[in-house]
């Protein structure tokens, strides 16, 4: 394959191309997911300190 001009220049015929956007989106989503997982894990560790268990049926102090 030859190198070619950017796809949005004039008189450029685009036959086949890969959509680059989903790659960027997936990458961002993965990093967002990582951040949320870190928060959840650190919350879970602090919860273990307070309740002494990971059993969600025993972590029930909030009612109403």
């Amino acid at each position: 394959m030859y190198g070619r001009a950017p796809i949005f220049s004039k008189d450029q015929v685009v036959s086949n191309m890969v959509d680059p956007l989903p790659q960027a989106l997936v990458l961002i989503t993965i990093s967002v997911g990582l951040a949320i997982t870190i928060v959840l894990v650190s919350l879970a560790i602090r919860i273990y300190d307070k309740f002494g268990t990971f059993d969600i049926t025993k972590i029930r102090r909030l009612k109403g």
């Binding site: 959509d19 989106l25 949320i36 959840l40 919350l43 919860i47 972590i59 909030l62 109403g64």
Partner: protein
């Protein structure tokens, strides 16, 4: 210039995290300064949006269908002013309230991140950016709910984080499916692509995903379980922000923007919204009566009031949209005020259960009078703003032929009055308990934001006067224009 609304709080969060460890008051002062700048710039942007219909910033100079754009139209301007006003007052309030916590700079850094996320959601003109800013705001909110690190706080934050990330996942899936269908993420361009095609099964599925996702963020009734825990366990400034503006920005605003301006509103979606609204309204109010914890009562009351807003928007007539948006504004005034009052009571007495309090009017006259104003406002006593918004909602429901629902809305208004009356009589009237004789009124920096909110609460009816009408009217117009939104952006 529009990106400053996101950039300034982001930089403030970074600087706080770097420097505040060594200079203790730095974080707080920087946060107040940032909130002040944002408040004035939001007023400026709102004014410009009313004058020019919409202001658009093209990130990197790329024109909308290709590049990302930031947009402030009437609705965004309306939300920006609400969010930044409440944040400024909350920051002033937090200055003294947060003194009993350690590592206060983390609070300010997280709060600034949350503010950046909320402003980002409001000004974003791109679906995926909406999602990223939403996650930024939610993530900081999860941490802020857990800020006290007591057992209850952690449990509430964990529950909130699970529910919130599930909601985000629904929204992300919806956005991904819409992208596969429309081949674009820009909201205006997506509206163009969707309006030219027949709506198939995919669009119905996406609608359901968005209803569930944004409904969970807004705590509409089948998805409301996290709200009472999260909003009652958080420190008072955080509860005030979450209940006052956060659920409206991430839930209601995003829902409206996507359904009215991108997908295009249909009568089915409207009737689903009206139904969800009326259920939330009723269930929230009845759950609120039974509560003993003041903050839990206010949290359930938030569910009920959000129900009013969504119900009004679900009716969809101009009068109903006016009522809904005006009620959104009013709720963003009196609910932070009520949470600040609950925080003031907790600050002075260390308690927040109805059974442990009584006769506080003799010891805390200022807190008593501001919470009386807020209670009257939220129960809809004329001539306070809350009365007019509820009146419009009920009138619009009757006009549109929803007589049964109008009757329910009027009844729930009486129920609201009942539980706020209960709160007022138990907590403030009578003679104080012997253990409550020694308590003092809150310091001036906490009184000042409460006073400002109290005044707005009394005067908010003036927003309906012709001089101030464009503020609400511009927001109504951008909702009513529907998918003509695309023409404003792509002109």
């Amino acid at each position: 210039m529009l990106y400053y609304l996101v950039l300034i709080p982001l930089c403030a969060a970074f600087l706080t995290a770097v420097f505040a460890k060594w200079r203790k008051p730095f974080g707080c002062l920087l946060a107040i300064l940032t909130a002040l700048i944002l408040f004035f710039s939001s007023l400026g942007f709102c004014h410009a949006a009313i004058l020019h219909k919409a202001i658009i910033y093209r990130v990197g100079g790329w024109a909308p269908p290709l590049g990302i754009c930031l947009v402030v139209d009437g609705l965004s301007g309306f939300m920006l002013v609400i969010v930044n006003t409440v944040s400024l007052l909350v920051m002033l309030y937090a200055f003294r309230y947060m003194q009993r916590f350690t590592d206060k700079w983390k609070f300010y850094a997280l709060f600034m991140l949350m503010l950046a996320g909320m402003n980002g959601v409001i000004i974003s003109g791109d679906m995926f950016n909406l999602y990223v800013f939403m996650e930024l705001a939610s993530l900081s909110a999860y941490c802020l709910v857990a800020f006290g690190t007591k057992a209850e706080d952690l449990e509430a934050a964990f529950k909130y984080a699970i529910m919130g990330s599930l909601a985000s996942l629904f929204i992300l899936l919806g956005i991904a499916l819409l992208y596969s269908h429309a081949s674009t993420l820009n909201m205006a361009d997506m509206a163009v692509a969707l309006s030219g095609r027949p709506s198939g099964v995919l669009l119905v599925f996406v609608t359901v995903l968005f209803l569930a996702g944004f409904g969970m963020k807004a705590a509409l009734v089948p998805f409301h379980a996290w709200l009472a825990d999260a909003h009652s366990s958080a420190p008072a400034p955080v509860s005030a922000t979450l209940s006052g503006v956060f659920i409206k920005t991430l839930g209601i605003y995003a829902l409206l923007r996507v359904f009215f301006n991108v997908i295009g509103i249909s009568s089915q979606i409207l009737s689903i919204l009206a139904l969800l609204g009326i259920i939330s309204m009723a269930l929230g109010a009845f759950l609120a009566i039974a509560q003993d914890d003041i903050k839990r009562m206010f949290a359930y009351s938030s569910i009920s009031q959000v129900g009013y807003i969504v119900f009004a928007l679900g009716i969809g007539t101009p009068l109903a949209i006016l009522g809904g948006l005006f009620h959104l504004f009013n709720h963003a005034v009196f609910k932070p005020l009520l949470f600040m009052d609950a925080g003031a009571i907790e600050y002075s007495t260390g308690r927040r259960s109805l059974s442990g309090l009584g006769g506080l009017n003799t010891r805390l006259p200022f807190t008593g009078s501001t919470s009386l104003i807020a209670s009257l406002g939220i129960s809809g006593i004329p001539p306070l703003g809350g009365f007019w918004s509820k009146l419009f909602i009920i009138m619009a429901a009757a006009q549109a032929g929803y007589f049964g629902m109008a009757a329910i809305a009027a009844l729930i208004s009486i129920v609201t009055l009942a539980y706020y009356f209960k709160f007022q009589t138990i907590v403030f009237s009578g003679a104080p308990d012997t253990s409550l004789r020694e308590i003092k009124e809150v310091p001036l920096t906490m009184k000042a934001p409460m006073l400002v909110l109290g005044l707005i609460c009394i005067l908010s009816g003036l927003l309906l006067l012709p001089a101030f009408k464009p503020f609400l009217q511009a927001a109504i117009d951008s909702l009513r224009s529907g998918i003509a939104y695309k023409d404003t952006i792509l002109r």
